[in-house]
Symmetry: C2
Subunit: 439 residues, 2 copies
């Protein structure tokens, strides 16, 4: 009589989604679907007209999926995707077991979404009387190289009485010259970075993780990024930031194993104060507002002097090509490239993974635009902090302002299907387990 | 001695960019570039090491450009691009001649950018002592199907004493049930809709137009959209909105000449009160916030009842396939599809071109997300207004709120290289001209 899909009578996913509100419409029967739903509501076995697999995106299994499992989390050395949705969360529960369960549920959802699959039973695969497990807007889309990367902020260690496990390398950032931080865009007990080539995929992922965390965590702030500014693929064309300059010329490439090992990944032998961080990294996130209207009224010569590179090719001062080795002394003393260069900062080198943003206007007719700076490093004390201190003299500071700031410990990767985000931190504590097979 | 680019001594573009600030660095000579610049500054003829063509994006001329010239403006019947940057402006000048000059300058910039070319002399093609004509972040990118579409708001006609030319079809929108409008996200003397497959291209276009308008116009509000929700290409997969439902199934396709003629394009014979609008249209923009956290806790059955379609396939109630003709009486009386359907509204039909948005969080831990609704129509009184009145009873209203609103007259297309945006409105007034060849 009708081809309206019949919903599976399978139980909903174990993910702790929000409480099922009774539907004022659930008992209204129309057509065959109503009859089937009536049977399901009565607990009877109904014809399963759609298997769980049917709840997956049509393109599931198609190209474009990045492996979720590994020694390191994906989304760091992974070639940079086009779009970002970054969210910082405050944790509302002090129940460590409940939080560990959330980490496990999140891991399972992340595992599915990065493979291009819907959360749980999908957007229309569960009980009709229950909210769908997945919000649905990613149905039919490809995985779009989605990566999900979790981080733990300093405050999380306090919240769960884990101060003894807080790595020394995870320092609170000092106040830097020129900081004008908005606390509503700063900090957070944890973060999730979602990167994908399709923004709908990144937004879908954060939204569904937030939903799974309902009652335990709440989004503190979030940021969309639309134009990657740093490349971790050295052969690709270097993207331009909103100042019109190439950004990321000398970035660490995902294929540079030696530089990744030296500057990005934590090794347990050498960073013994936090053995649980082996294979992890540290992330500094800064929301950098650009005064683009002022910048746009600055002469080309001054713009190039400020950066220490020319605008067209991106070549360092006095050099011909973008990738020529910069000769720092040819640059003005306050040139950005000179001050940010490892030679100026005892070798400090960051893996940058920032995105441009434009968040409408600021109420004064100016675009609220800039760079959402994301930098991964092995030790914040030897990475972002010395570089940012050096940049106190940066000529660029006349045109930018840091308005948001956060720092996170990025735990190692999820090794296999039995592993979960944060296990090495929580395994030895009540609520966790040392045996991932028990998880 | 150096390969640093030597800048052309050609005069900068006629576009009225911001005043040239004297550079504190312009006279600092380093290497050969400094010498060349010195010559240029002295007004001497210098070697032109880069022609104007070099200032164009590397991919200029490559596929992906949408024709700017035509009877209608592009960006309406054009197949919907992936991304949006929409800006509403307030006009700060009352000098009609100055405004007409701006319209001409904007037209020339739009003509260049939609072809994948930089504004004026480009990002590094003018005088080094002057701000570049183009902000540069689109260098090396393809046109990405950029369209730029201008519209004039009711207040513009007051501002320039053109009330007699204001079309009757451009009515001020009445207050609708449930409206909760933020005036900082509403209205505007004019608008520019930038659509492109690459957001950096759309943002670049609005930014450069705003820059050209410095001193004459200021951005009142702007909106980025990342996921198109309505398709004007009937054979493509229908995109999903942030409620997870397919959106735009029955939209007017860009190829449906008859429906476009009937519902979208103004004809001068039949809309005689504003002959200057022949070939134009009217745009209603509404920022519709979705309470997605509440929606996500609603049962699948209720979600489907509210829309009147099933979530997976998108089929109307009781039907099998998305494109099956809806049987409205099978739906609940307050189902969205039923109330929005032309049969319920004396045939009223809109060309929808909306985008999803996610603008961070709202300070209460909820995503500030929803639909930026854009609807084109031949007459607002026979299009959006009756449909929106009908939707006062919409079951969906429990989950959405209209928080921004604006209406614009969309003038006809720019016919050729001598024509300019708004000529038919301003041509007969002082400061305009009846002869586009004189423009």
């Amino acid at each position: 009589m009708t081809d309206t899909p019949v919903h599976s009578g399978q139980p909903a996913s174990p993910a702790p989604t929000a409480a099922t509100a009774p539907s004022r419409r659930a008992l209204i029967g129309w057509g065959g679907a109503g009859l089937a739903l009536g049977a399901a509501a009565a607990g009877g076995a109904v014809a399963v007209a759609r298997s769980v697999d049917d709840t997956e995106p049509a393109a599931s299994g198609a190209g474009g999926a990045i492996a979720f499992h590994g020694i390191h989390q994906a989304g760091i050395a992974t070639p940079v995707q086009d779009r970002l949705h970054f969210a910082a969360f405050d944790v509302k529960t002090t129940d460590r077991a409940a939080f560990v369960q959330l980490l496990k549920d999140w891991t399972e959802a992340a595992r599915r979404m990065t493979a291009g699959r819907a959360v749980g039973e999908g957007a229309y695969g569960g009980l009709a009387e229950a909210p769908p497990d997945d919000t649905g807007e990613a149905l039919g889309l490809t995985p779009s190289r989605l990566t999900l990367t979790i981080g733990f902020g300093p405050s999380l260690f306090e919240k769960f009485d884990l101060a003894g496990l807080r790595p020394e390398a995870l320092v609170d950032l000092p106040k830097f010259a020129g900081d004008n931080l908005d606390r509503n865009r700063s900090g957070g007990d944890l973060c999730i970075q979602a990167c994908a080539d399709d923004p709908q995929i990144a937004v879908h992922a954060i939204r569904n993780l937030a939903r799974i965390g309902f009652g335990k965590v709440v989004i503190r702030w979030s940021q969309l990024g639309f134009g990657k500014t740093s490349s971790t693929t050295p052969d690709a064309q270097t993207p331009r930031n909103l100042m019109g300059f190439k950004d990321g010329t000398r970035n660490i490439a995902g294929t540079e194993t030696d530089r990744l090992k030296k500057f990005v990944w934590v090794e347990d032998a050498k960073d013994a104060d936090a053995a649980w961080m082996a294979g992890g990294s540290y992330l500094v996130a800064r929301r950098i507002r650009m005064n683009i209207e002022t910048w746009d009224r600055t002469s080309l010569q001054e713009q190039e002097d400020i950066f220490g590179r020319d605008k067209g090719e991106g070549a360092p001062v006095g050099k011909a090509k973008e990738r020529d080795e910069p000769f720092l002394k040819a640059m003005l003393p306050d040139a950005h490239v000179r001050l940010a260069h490892p030679d100026t900062n005892a070798g400090a080198t960051l893996l940058r993974r920032g995105y441009s943003f434009t968040d409408g206007t600021d109420g004064l007719g100016r675009l609220d635009a800039g760079l959402f700076f994301l930098a991964y490093q092995r030790d914040v004390r030897k990475g972002f902090i010395p570089v940012q201190r050096s940049l106190a003299a940066d000529a660029l500071n006349e045109y930018i302002q840091h308005v948001g700031s956060a720092v996170f410990a990025i735990p190692p990767g999820v090794r296999d299907k039995d592993d979960w985000w944060g296990r090495t931190l929580f395994a030895g504590t009540p609520g966790g387990t040392n045996d991932p097979k028990e998880a």
